[in-house]
Symmetry: C2
DNA sequence: ATCAGCATTCTTGAGTGCCGAGTGCTAAGC
DNA sequence: GCTTAGCACTCGGCACTCAAGAATGCTGAT
């Protein structure tokens, strides 16, 4: 990567043209093809010169000596950057989304449909992750003995997420009820973490009084009944079938599909790249840093939030060769929709 | 299909050998190969004769004039039939299953892991569906206002399945609480269906008294809060990536993956073929009747039950060319495990 | 600077010929 | 009468060659 010939106007136009025709055709683009298609009226030879410069700058690659040029990851980054997000979502996409989102019953369902819709629109893999664990405010808990040693814990958060979990413990139903009542009366609206801290504090301070009760609660915590975010994660993946069209190498295809089935990895991926704090759509080109098997893939993601609370994230994963503009607007639109649908009356 | 040469001992042995070597190699099996492998000491010529008979009986096919023979669906059916289910599960499989099933927290999770484990063991697609809606006994309900017009309904069944749903209605919290209390006190242990019938009956009879309360409950029913089984279905599919190895035709591969993503179809498939009443493992060869895109696939499934209650079903879906014995024992083992794990203390 | 032309490189697809595996049939052997 | 060996025939697949097409880099002219 020698001193970049600081990309001027002509270079930018040509690079953009290369990226776009490569996205469209999938084949290495040569100087002649470009000269023919490009209205700029430049001759192939000139274009070749520019191409050579761009190759030096590390923006283009040649698969073989006598083949056309292919954009590098860097070129895509550049391309996406100068792709001002001014595009509006198309009416077709909008109606696809409206249709699919009809009659949503809960967050999980929204996420599931989202993954599906994103895959439809982008013709790639749609991903939606519902996280939002301990930061959510508690609304209600309920415990119930199931069998011999088993207790069912149900936790409802204020944002309407329900989570259940079977624990193994032997507290009698009476104590479970007492614990539930205690929690519901004292800690409604608290976050799980804050609540735990408070319980621990009280155990320290007022040991004598609440003793049994607080210990029950602490025991429930320890079993994960009220617990930390990771167990609440639900991952929805739609359109994995679309990878078949894009990936020629069978082994790699299989590897990719396998990776997608490991939900944990997908969560980790979104967690790493989708910035919860920021509302913006994030485009990450080249996922090999995070997950080796996803080399050459691109992630276009955004956080899903209701008000200020982050409920999860959504994304499209696809090959570098995808319709960025289109996908970005779709992701952005659904991310906004999420807030609208779940915040107020639909 | 002329008069079947009623399959004798020799025919059976040869057919079995053909099926097994075809499963092993994936290539059309010819008379010579078979003669070499088969200890029976028959000459290729003899085998050719038998093969011709089996072809006439519609049990074998030739892809091309001078290729070997391939078993037809009918042949697989015959093969599976005479495959007495005497095989024990292998220790390796057993330990894979034990490892994966460790620390199960609820039915959904069991199903998810099951689909994964089945895919691992069978090297095919593992499927698990949690159904079991209205037939389950009610344990507890809870309603909570979420926002403007929205109410969150949480239903816990006696078998430990939790279900939540956001409804659009405008009952005030006080009435919701009253309805919940009423239901929890009077109908714990009832099935959803029986409960609804009773509510309707009372509305008729004792109109005056409970009026408002009963009407709230009925309204909740109408919104599906306490409702019919279909919305409770959760479908888990594992190992879809395994299809890549088995299916050469890319288009068909894509079609298959797409079909698997349509959860409804999968539910319908299991519903059609896995007999809830019967405990046995069911092997269905040739799924094209139910779902055209699944032509040539095989389903090996069993119901998942806790005691007498059917909680769902589990299955392996794969190409006709699979290890039947192995898969059948695995499916059967996990089906039994389901009862054990969820019924009593683990 | 820009562009035309030329020699060069490399991929791709078509065409060819050959080998191996399998079949069906007929005739000989137990 | 069942079993087997032998023979002629049919295909699919592989290796190989060859020509066409596309793109490149360079050089020299405008």
């Amino acid at each position: 990567m020698p001193g970049a010939p600081h990309i001027g106007d002509r270079e930018r136009v040509i690079l953009t043209a290369i990226v776009e025709t490569f996205i469209a055709t999938g084949e290495p683009v040569g100087s002649r093809t470009l000269a023919r298609a490009n209205a700029e009226g430049l001759s192939p030879a000139t274009i070749r010169n520019v191409m050579a410069d761009l190759s030096d700058a590390g923006l283009l690659e040649q698969p073989h000596t006598s083949a056309g040029r292919i954009p590098t990851a860097e070129a895509y980054r550049y391309y996406v950057e100068q792709l001002s997000g001014k595009a509006q979502i198309s009416p077709q996409d909008q109606s696809i989304i409206q249709d699919s989102m009809h009659g949503i019953t809960n967050v999980q369902e929204f996420m599931e449909r989202t993954s599906h819709v994103l895959s439809l629109i982008s013709k790639n893999v749609g991903v939606a992750v519902a996280t939002g664990g301990s930061r959510n405010a508690l609304e209600h808990v309920y415990f119930s003995r199931l069998g011999d040693q088993k207790v069912l814990a149900v936790v409802v958060t204020r944002s309407g997420v329900v989570r259940d979990r079977v624990l193994r413990m032997d507290l009698p139903q009476s104590e479970l009820d007492a614990a539930a009542r205690f929690i519901n009366e004292n800690f409604r609206g608290w976050t799980m973490d804050a609540m735990r801290a408070e319980v621990l504090r009280r155990i320290e301070q007022e040991r004598s009084e609440y003793d049994r009760l607080l210990n029950s609660v602490e025991q429930l915590y320890r079993q994960g009944a009220l617990g930390s975010e990771d167990s609440l994660q639900a991952v929805f993946i739609g359109g994995a079938a679309n990878l078949v069209a894009g990936e020629k190498d069978r082994e790699r295809l299989q590897e990719l599909l396998q990776t997608l089935e490991e939900k944990q990895k997908v969560v980790q991926l979104l967690g790493a790249y989708v910035d919860a704090k920021q509302e913006a759509v994030r485009v990450v080109i080249g996922l090999d840093d995070a997950i080796p098997s996803m080399r050459n893939l691109v992630l276009i993601g955004a956080p899903a939030r209701v008000g200020d609370e982050v409920m999860g994230s959504l994304a499209v994963i696809g090959p570098t060769r995808m319709d960025y503009q289109h996908t970005i607007t779709a992701v952005s639109y659904i991310a906004r929709l999420f807030d609208q649908v779940l915040n107020e009356s639909e």
